[in-house]
């Protein structure tokens, strides 16, 4: 069964450093998302991406964040200058169609630890 994959599974970085989190969505999916979950809190929406552009972003997704689909298979989340409060699990998700009832499928997540 096709699945969303994410690399790395765990990333440790120093505050102020740039990180890139990578995702490979399910191959015939057209809509892509990043969510995050800070330890002990709920899963929060960050950004949605369709047709090579951001379709919606949350208040969390400020100028330090960017997303890209560089090669038609990967979907990346970049944090330019990490802060301590960026430490969280980051989940990529994808969805096949524009149907409002279509389900989002999640990857296993990347645990980002900012020291």
């Amino acid at each position: 069964e096709p699945e969303v994959t994410q690399t790395p599974s765990h990333q440790v970085t120093q505050m102020g450093q740039e990180v890139i989190l990578r995702c490979v969505p399910i191959s015939n999916h057209l809509y892509f998302y990043w969510y995050r979950q800070i330890l002990g809190q709920k899963v929060e929406f960050l950004v949605s991406f369709y047709n090579n552009e951001i379709s919606e972003k949350s208040e969390i997704f400020d100028d330090q964040f960017s997303v890209e689909r560089p090669d038609g298979s990967n979907f990346t989340l970049k944090i330019r200058s990490t802060k301590l409060e960026d430490s969280a699990m980051y989940f990529c998700a994808s969805r096949r169609t524009s149907g409002e009832t279509d389900t989002q499928y999640f990857g296993p997540g990347t645990r980002l630890t900012v020291l």
Binding site: Y33, V43, F45, S58, Y105, F106, P108
Partner: protein
């Protein structure tokens, strides 16, 4: 912004009995609801969903009920099995064009005792 609430942080059930997990929402624009199961250090796994035009959807041991007037949905698992022990998240999305971002509840930790 508590648009989706799961008021029970944990639930303990005996194997073979019914597990009932509850979720409330406040935004009447939500029209699609999903339940995800999550193990520690893994991503949410889709379980079952329901559209607002229905009041019940069943898939094997899992049934989701939607009460739109009360803005309440519930997930029933019967019979419960030890492998069902996990955190269960309720999520909702609204008719906002192509975005369909999910708004999650805080989760309920289900423990099924053998």
């Amino acid at each position: 912004d508590q648009q989706v609430k799961q008021n029970s942080p944990s639930l303990s059930v005996q194997e073979g009995r019914i597990s009932i997990l509850n979720c409330d929402y406040t935004n009447s624009m939500f029209d699609y609801f999903l339940w995800y199961k999550k193990y520690p250090a893994e991503g949410p796994t889709f379980l079952i969903s329901i559209s607002s035009i229905k009041d019940k959807n069943e898939d094997g041991r899992f049934t989701v009920f939607l009460n739109k007037s009360a803005k309440h949905l519930s997930l029933h698992i019967v019979p419960s099995q030890p492998g069902d022990s996990a955190v269960y998240f309720c999520a909702a999305s609204g008719a906002r064009g192509a975005t369909n971002k999910l708004i999650f509840g805080t989760g309920t930790l289900l423990a099924v005792q053998p």
